[in-house]
Point group: C2
Chain length 208, copies 2
DNA sequence: CCATGCAGTTAACAACTGTTCTCTGGAATT
DNA sequence: AATTCCAGAGAACAGTTGTTAACTGCATGG
């Protein structure tokens, strides 16, 4: 089934990935709309024209980066939300998971936070799509919870969006605190945890 | 007291404002880190070198734009939060106020949403400062509310940040829906209202 | 009224950008 | 073994960028 692709295509994907990696690094200090194609190829050590073999433009590369940053995140989201125990433990676990993810892929998180409202329309669109998918998935998991009895679909979806946005805000806060002293990072953890907790309280008493 | 400034300084402030206006317009389709100084002066119809009479760099101009976009917003925030009636009416009013503001100053809102996590550090910093100020002001207003009895300062501040972030998310949603049919905008209004309502419910039952 | 200050102009600079066309070497196909 | 294909190189293009220096004209303060 799985065909080990030839030397040819392997090399191609290798430089393609090198372009993505270089771009992601360069994007830590600027935004996509100012990222030059030559800048990227120079960082990789490849001719400027080679860029066109992989992407039509830097915007196109940006869309690919969205896929790389968010595409593999869906299973993680699902399992996080659906973790059974109802206590505050679940919230603590979720916040920790976000913190770990930011530590593991800071550049990806920065890219998403930056380009979500950035100056490149196709990239904004791609991010929006992924976040909508996230929200729908979260909603599906929430619907399974006994607590969701009596909730309308609309309300479940609005709660899901609230969670997704809160997740992104928290990730962004962890990102800013990455090089800060541990006490600062713990403060972020505490605030995020309590905000999620407050939302959960609101959720519990929504049907009054 | 108020000294009507001479013809000289008046002209200067006029071109300075023209530069800010032109930049804001150009920033609707790109981000600050890709905004060129020549681009701005060309749009105003002034020599590139004239730029330096007003700003050290485009980043500097960006910081000035933050001031313009958020500086005058503090009184509005305070009065909105402190509007007395406790019912859901206050939330509806707040959401409407956000919608109106987005309609009146879409470019400002877009700029803030875009550059909050954008590629220019001093601008990010300036926005962060203003948002922290907002949060502190909201907290002060919340503290006056009888509902805040028994709340710690930390919890009040975390709630205030939650409100401020939610305000920005809502503004951004209204922005995306600006050219959409009215039904779409009303959907945004409904979702935002319910999210705020859910947070309020959580707030009411926080001390259980 | 005259001298100073200063907002804005003009010209020039080296460096950089995206895109085109042509070419090449080696893997892939037959 | 001969042929096709194609990722990447190389060179050249017209335009753009930020920054410098020396200037001009006019409002301002003495």
């Amino acid at each position: 089934m799985s065909h080990t692709l030839g030397v040819r295509q392997a090399q191609k994907q290798k430089t393609r990935q090198a372009l993505l990696d270089a771009a992601l690094r360069l994007l830590e200090e600027q935004s996509l709309s100012s990222l030059g194609l030559r800048e990227v190829t120079r960082a990789v050590g490849v001719a400027p024209t080679a860029f066109y073999r992989h992407f039509r433009s830097t915007a196109d590369l940006g869309v690919a980066l969205v896929e790389e940053a968010l595409g593999s995140l869906h299973p993680m989201i699902r399992t996080t939300v659906s973790t059974a125990d109802d206590s505050g433990e679940r919230i603590v676990r979720a916040v920790e998971l976000i913190a770990r993810h930011v530590e593991a892929y800071p550049a990806h998180v920065r890219f998403i936070a930056r380009e979500r409202h950035g100056g490149v329309q196709p990239v904004r669109e791609a991010i929006r799509e992924q976040l909508v998918r996230f929200a729908r998935e979260v909603k599906d998991e929430l619907a399974k919870d006994p607590q969701a009895q009596g909730w309308s679909d609309d309300d479940l979806l609005m709660l899901a969006h609230l969670y997704v946005d809160q997740m992104l805000i928290t990730a962004s806060l962890f990102l800013e605190a990455l090089d800060a002293p541990r006490e600062e990072r713990e403060r972020v953890t505490q605030v995020a945890t309590r905000q999620l907790r407050l939302i959960s309280v609101g959720r519990r008493h929504w049907l009054d």
